[in-house]
Symmetry: none
Subunit: 147 residues, 2 copies
Protein backbone atom coordinates (compact mmCIF):
# COMPACT_ATOMS: atom_id res chain seq x y z
CA UNK A 1 0.00 0.00 0.00
CA UNK A 2 1.64 3.19 -1.19
CA UNK A 3 -0.43 5.86 0.42
CA UNK A 4 0.31 7.89 3.48
CA UNK A 5 -2.43 6.98 5.90
CA UNK A 6 -3.13 7.10 9.60
CA UNK A 7 -1.22 8.90 12.29
CA UNK A 8 1.28 8.07 15.00
CA UNK A 9 3.33 9.94 17.55
CA UNK A 10 7.04 9.41 18.17
CA UNK A 11 9.40 10.77 20.81
CA UNK A 12 12.31 13.09 20.16
CA UNK A 13 15.50 11.76 21.76
CA UNK A 14 18.17 13.66 23.67
CA UNK A 15 19.99 14.47 20.45
CA UNK A 16 16.94 15.97 18.82
CA UNK A 17 16.19 13.08 16.53
CA UNK A 18 12.87 11.39 15.82
CA UNK A 19 12.07 8.22 13.87
CA UNK A 20 9.95 8.63 10.78
CA UNK A 21 7.30 5.90 11.03
CA UNK A 22 8.44 2.85 9.09
CA UNK A 23 5.20 2.80 7.13
CA UNK A 24 5.90 6.27 5.76
CA UNK A 25 9.62 5.71 5.39
CA UNK A 26 9.09 2.68 3.20
CA UNK A 27 6.97 4.63 0.76
CA UNK A 28 9.62 7.31 0.37
CA UNK A 29 12.45 4.82 0.13
CA UNK A 30 10.54 2.74 -2.40
CA UNK A 31 10.59 5.83 -4.59
CA UNK A 32 14.36 5.85 -4.18
CA UNK A 33 14.80 8.78 -1.84
CA UNK A 34 16.73 9.21 1.39
CA UNK A 35 15.74 12.82 1.80
CA UNK A 36 12.47 14.46 2.67
CA UNK A 37 11.17 17.81 1.54
CA UNK A 38 9.22 19.79 4.12
CA UNK A 39 7.06 22.83 3.50
CA UNK A 40 5.33 25.04 6.02
CA UNK A 41 1.61 24.76 5.58
CA UNK A 42 -0.06 28.05 4.75
CA UNK A 43 -3.14 27.57 6.90
CA UNK A 44 -2.03 25.17 9.60
CA UNK A 45 0.70 24.93 12.24
CA UNK A 46 1.98 21.85 10.45
CA UNK A 47 4.50 20.87 7.81
CA UNK A 48 3.72 19.06 4.59
CA UNK A 49 6.38 16.46 4.00
CA UNK A 50 7.20 13.99 1.29
CA UNK A 51 9.90 12.88 -1.11
CA UNK A 52 11.74 15.57 -3.07
CA UNK A 53 9.27 15.14 -5.92
CA UNK A 54 6.78 16.85 -3.66
CA UNK A 55 8.48 20.13 -4.48
CA UNK A 56 7.70 19.86 -8.16
CA UNK A 57 4.22 18.59 -7.47
CA UNK A 58 3.40 21.52 -5.21
CA UNK A 59 4.84 23.81 -7.81
CA UNK A 60 2.29 22.62 -10.31
CA UNK A 61 -0.58 22.61 -7.86
CA UNK A 62 0.04 26.18 -6.81
CA UNK A 63 0.36 27.39 -10.36
CA UNK A 64 -2.91 25.97 -11.46
CA UNK A 65 -4.86 26.16 -8.24
CA UNK A 66 -4.36 29.47 -6.51
CA UNK A 67 -5.98 32.31 -8.44
CA UNK A 68 -4.70 34.86 -5.95
CA UNK A 69 -1.04 33.95 -6.18
CA UNK A 70 0.62 37.10 -7.39
CA UNK A 71 3.57 36.03 -9.41
CA UNK A 72 5.57 33.01 -10.29
CA UNK A 73 8.36 34.57 -8.26
CA UNK A 74 6.24 34.59 -5.15
CA UNK A 75 5.41 30.95 -5.53
CA UNK A 76 8.96 30.00 -6.20
CA UNK A 77 10.05 31.99 -3.17
CA UNK A 78 7.46 30.33 -1.03
CA UNK A 79 8.44 26.86 -2.11
CA UNK A 80 12.16 27.34 -1.79
CA UNK A 81 12.59 29.79 1.05
CA UNK A 82 9.80 28.40 3.18
CA UNK A 83 10.74 24.80 2.47
CA UNK A 84 13.59 22.66 3.66
CA UNK A 85 15.19 19.31 3.06
CA UNK A 86 15.37 16.83 5.90
CA UNK A 87 18.03 14.15 5.70
CA UNK A 88 17.12 10.74 7.04
CA UNK A 89 19.91 8.81 8.73
CA UNK A 90 20.55 5.08 8.29
CA UNK A 91 17.94 4.28 10.94
CA UNK A 92 15.29 6.39 9.29
CA UNK A 93 15.45 9.30 11.71
CA UNK A 94 15.42 13.01 11.03
CA UNK A 95 16.73 15.77 13.27
CA UNK A 96 14.11 18.19 14.44
CA UNK A 97 15.49 21.57 13.50
CA UNK A 98 14.31 25.00 14.55
CA UNK A 99 12.71 25.23 11.14
CA UNK A 100 10.33 22.54 12.28
CA UNK A 101 9.87 23.74 15.84
CA UNK A 102 9.08 27.35 15.06
CA UNK A 103 6.19 26.72 12.77
CA UNK A 104 4.67 23.79 14.65
CA UNK A 105 5.44 24.32 18.30
CA UNK A 106 7.02 20.89 18.53
CA UNK A 107 9.09 20.29 21.65
CA UNK A 108 9.35 16.69 22.82
CA UNK A 109 7.05 14.61 20.62
CA UNK A 110 6.07 14.59 16.98
CA UNK A 111 2.85 13.42 15.37
CA UNK A 112 3.08 12.15 11.82
CA UNK A 113 -0.21 12.29 9.95
CA UNK A 114 -0.93 10.74 6.56
CA UNK A 115 -2.36 12.88 3.76
CA UNK A 116 -2.54 10.34 0.92
CA UNK A 117 0.19 11.62 -1.40
CA UNK A 118 2.31 13.09 1.38
CA UNK A 119 2.24 13.38 5.14
CA UNK A 120 2.24 16.05 7.79
CA UNK A 121 4.26 16.79 10.90
CA UNK A 122 2.44 18.17 13.93
CA UNK A 123 2.90 19.02 17.54
CA UNK A 124 0.71 16.32 19.15
CA UNK A 125 -1.70 18.61 20.99
CA UNK A 126 -2.10 20.84 17.97
CA UNK A 127 -2.87 17.81 15.89
CA UNK A 128 -5.46 16.61 18.34
CA UNK A 129 -7.07 20.04 18.45
CA UNK A 130 -7.20 20.26 14.69
CA UNK A 131 -8.59 16.76 14.47
CA UNK A 132 -11.50 17.51 16.73
CA UNK A 133 -12.19 20.82 14.96
CA UNK A 134 -12.33 19.02 11.64
CA UNK A 135 -14.65 16.38 13.04
CA UNK A 136 -16.95 19.01 14.46
CA UNK A 137 -17.09 20.93 11.19
CA UNK A 138 -17.79 17.82 9.14
CA UNK A 139 -20.44 16.54 11.53
CA UNK A 140 -22.10 19.95 11.48
CA UNK A 141 -22.07 20.06 7.72
CA UNK A 142 -23.54 16.61 7.52
CA UNK A 143 -26.31 17.52 9.90
CA UNK A 144 -27.26 20.52 7.79
CA UNK A 145 -27.38 18.45 4.64
CA UNK A 146 -29.63 15.79 6.06
CA UNK A 147 -32.09 18.31 7.42
Amino acid sequence: MNRFLGHMTNRIDAKGRVSVPAQFRLIVQAAGHTELYALRSLHLPALDVGGPELLTRFDKTLESADPFAETADDMSFYLHADGSFLKMDADGRITVTDFLREHTGISTDVTFAGANTHFQIWQPEQFEAHRSRVRTRLAEKRRQETD
Copy 2:
Protein backbone atom coordinates in the same frame (compact mmCIF):
# COMPACT_ATOMS: atom_id res chain seq x y z
CA MET B 1 -23.21 -13.20 -1.17
CA ASN B 2 -21.16 -10.05 -1.28
CA ARG B 3 -22.90 -7.89 1.26
CA PHE B 4 -21.99 -7.36 4.85
CA LEU B 5 -24.92 -8.54 6.89
CA GLY B 6 -25.71 -9.42 10.48
CA HIS B 7 -23.60 -8.94 13.57
CA MET B 8 -21.44 -11.03 15.88
CA THR B 9 -19.15 -10.49 18.83
CA ASN B 10 -15.64 -11.90 19.17
CA ARG B 11 -13.17 -11.91 22.04
CA ILE B 12 -9.84 -10.10 22.05
CA ASP B 13 -6.98 -12.44 23.03
CA ALA B 14 -4.05 -11.79 25.34
CA LYS B 15 -2.03 -10.34 22.48
CA GLY B 16 -4.73 -7.89 21.57
CA ARG B 17 -5.95 -9.68 18.48
CA VAL B 18 -9.48 -10.42 17.37
CA SER B 19 -10.79 -12.58 14.54
CA VAL B 20 -12.69 -10.81 11.81
CA PRO B 21 -15.84 -12.90 11.25
CA ALA B 22 -15.22 -15.33 8.43
CA GLN B 23 -18.32 -14.11 6.63
CA PHE B 24 -16.89 -10.60 6.39
CA ARG B 25 -13.36 -11.76 5.80
CA LEU B 26 -14.34 -13.81 2.80
CA ILE B 27 -15.92 -10.83 1.11
CA VAL B 28 -12.78 -8.78 1.51
CA GLN B 29 -10.47 -11.61 0.52
CA ALA B 30 -12.58 -12.44 -2.50
CA ALA B 31 -11.79 -8.94 -3.70
CA GLY B 32 -8.11 -9.80 -3.30
CA HIS B 33 -7.29 -7.81 -0.17
CA THR B 34 -5.51 -8.74 3.03
CA GLU B 35 -5.89 -5.30 4.51
CA LEU B 36 -8.82 -3.38 5.87
CA TYR B 37 -9.45 0.33 5.80
CA ALA B 38 -10.99 1.74 8.95
CA LEU B 39 -12.49 5.16 9.50
CA ARG B 40 -13.78 6.69 12.72
CA SER B 41 -17.44 7.44 12.31
CA LEU B 42 -18.33 11.11 12.72
CA HIS B 43 -21.50 10.70 14.74
CA LEU B 44 -21.13 7.24 16.30
CA PRO B 45 -18.60 5.60 18.63
CA ALA B 46 -17.91 3.06 15.92
CA LEU B 47 -15.55 2.48 13.02
CA ASP B 48 -16.58 2.03 9.42
CA VAL B 49 -14.48 -0.71 7.90
CA GLY B 50 -14.06 -2.23 4.49
CA GLY B 51 -11.48 -3.19 1.91
CA PRO B 52 -9.02 -0.58 0.67
CA GLU B 53 -11.36 0.17 -2.20
CA LEU B 54 -13.54 1.90 0.36
CA LEU B 55 -10.90 4.61 0.61
CA THR B 56 -10.55 4.76 -3.14
CA ARG B 57 -14.26 5.29 -3.39
CA PHE B 58 -14.11 8.19 -0.96
CA ASP B 59 -11.08 9.62 -2.74
CA LYS B 60 -12.96 9.73 -6.01
CA THR B 61 -15.77 11.78 -4.53
CA LEU B 62 -13.14 14.10 -3.08
CA GLU B 63 -11.53 14.65 -6.44
CA SER B 64 -14.76 15.80 -7.92
CA ALA B 65 -15.30 18.29 -5.10
CA ASP B 66 -14.27 21.91 -5.18
CA PRO B 67 -10.59 21.98 -4.24
CA PHE B 68 -10.88 25.46 -2.74
CA ALA B 69 -13.62 24.67 -0.32
CA GLU B 70 -12.47 24.26 3.24
CA THR B 71 -14.62 21.17 3.34
CA ALA B 72 -12.37 19.44 0.83
CA ASP B 73 -9.36 19.97 3.08
CA ASP B 74 -11.33 18.79 6.06
CA MET B 75 -12.53 15.71 4.24
CA SER B 76 -9.04 14.83 3.08
CA PHE B 77 -7.69 15.22 6.59
CA TYR B 78 -10.51 13.16 7.98
CA LEU B 79 -10.10 10.35 5.45
CA HIS B 80 -6.34 10.10 5.54
CA ALA B 81 -5.17 11.24 8.96
CA ASP B 82 -8.14 9.92 10.89
CA GLY B 83 -8.30 6.68 8.94
CA SER B 84 -6.05 3.68 9.12
CA PHE B 85 -5.19 0.39 7.51
CA LEU B 86 -5.65 -2.74 9.59
CA LYS B 87 -3.52 -5.67 8.54
CA MET B 88 -5.13 -9.08 8.75
CA ASP B 89 -2.82 -11.94 9.67
CA ALA B 90 -2.89 -15.36 8.01
CA ASP B 91 -5.74 -16.42 10.30
CA GLY B 92 -7.85 -13.40 9.50
CA ARG B 93 -7.24 -11.53 12.72
CA ILE B 94 -6.55 -7.87 13.29
CA THR B 95 -4.80 -6.33 16.26
CA VAL B 96 -6.92 -3.94 18.24
CA THR B 97 -4.81 -0.81 18.51
CA ASP B 98 -5.38 2.26 20.63
CA PHE B 99 -6.65 3.84 17.45
CA LEU B 100 -9.65 1.53 17.69
CA ARG B 101 -10.04 1.56 21.45
CA GLU B 102 -10.05 5.31 21.92
CA HIS B 103 -12.89 6.00 19.59
CA THR B 104 -15.07 3.02 20.44
CA GLY B 105 -14.36 2.23 24.07
CA ILE B 106 -13.50 -1.35 23.15
CA SER B 107 -11.66 -3.27 25.83
CA THR B 108 -12.14 -7.05 25.81
CA ASP B 109 -14.71 -7.82 23.12
CA VAL B 110 -15.56 -6.52 19.68
CA THR B 111 -18.89 -6.47 17.87
CA PHE B 112 -18.80 -6.59 14.10
CA ALA B 113 -21.93 -5.29 12.43
CA GLY B 114 -22.75 -5.52 8.76
CA ALA B 115 -23.72 -2.36 6.87
CA ASN B 116 -24.25 -3.63 3.34
CA THR B 117 -21.25 -2.21 1.47
CA HIS B 118 -19.04 -2.17 4.53
CA PHE B 119 -19.19 -3.14 8.18
CA GLN B 120 -18.75 -1.52 11.55
CA ILE B 121 -16.72 -2.21 14.66
CA TRP B 122 -18.33 -1.54 18.03
CA GLN B 123 -17.85 -1.98 21.71
CA PRO B 124 -20.58 -4.59 22.43
CA GLU B 125 -22.60 -2.58 24.97
CA GLN B 126 -22.43 0.53 22.83
CA PHE B 127 -23.68 -1.46 19.90
CA GLU B 128 -26.56 -2.85 21.89
CA ALA B 129 -27.48 0.60 23.14
CA HIS B 130 -27.37 2.01 19.66
CA ARG B 131 -29.43 -0.83 18.33
CA SER B 132 -32.23 -0.27 20.80
CA ARG B 133 -32.14 3.49 20.22
CA VAL B 134 -32.55 2.90 16.51
CA ARG B 135 -35.44 0.53 17.11
CA THR B 136 -37.18 3.03 19.32
CA ARG B 137 -36.74 5.80 16.81
CA LEU B 138 -38.12 3.70 14.00
CA ALA B 139 -41.10 2.55 16.03
CA GLU B 140 -41.79 6.14 17.02
CA LYS B 141 -41.65 7.29 13.44
CA ARG B 142 -43.98 4.56 12.34
CA ARG B 143 -46.45 5.44 15.05
CA GLN B 144 -46.47 9.07 13.99
CA GLU B 145 -47.05 8.16 10.39
CA THR B 146 -49.97 5.88 11.09
CA ASP B 147 -51.68 8.44 13.31
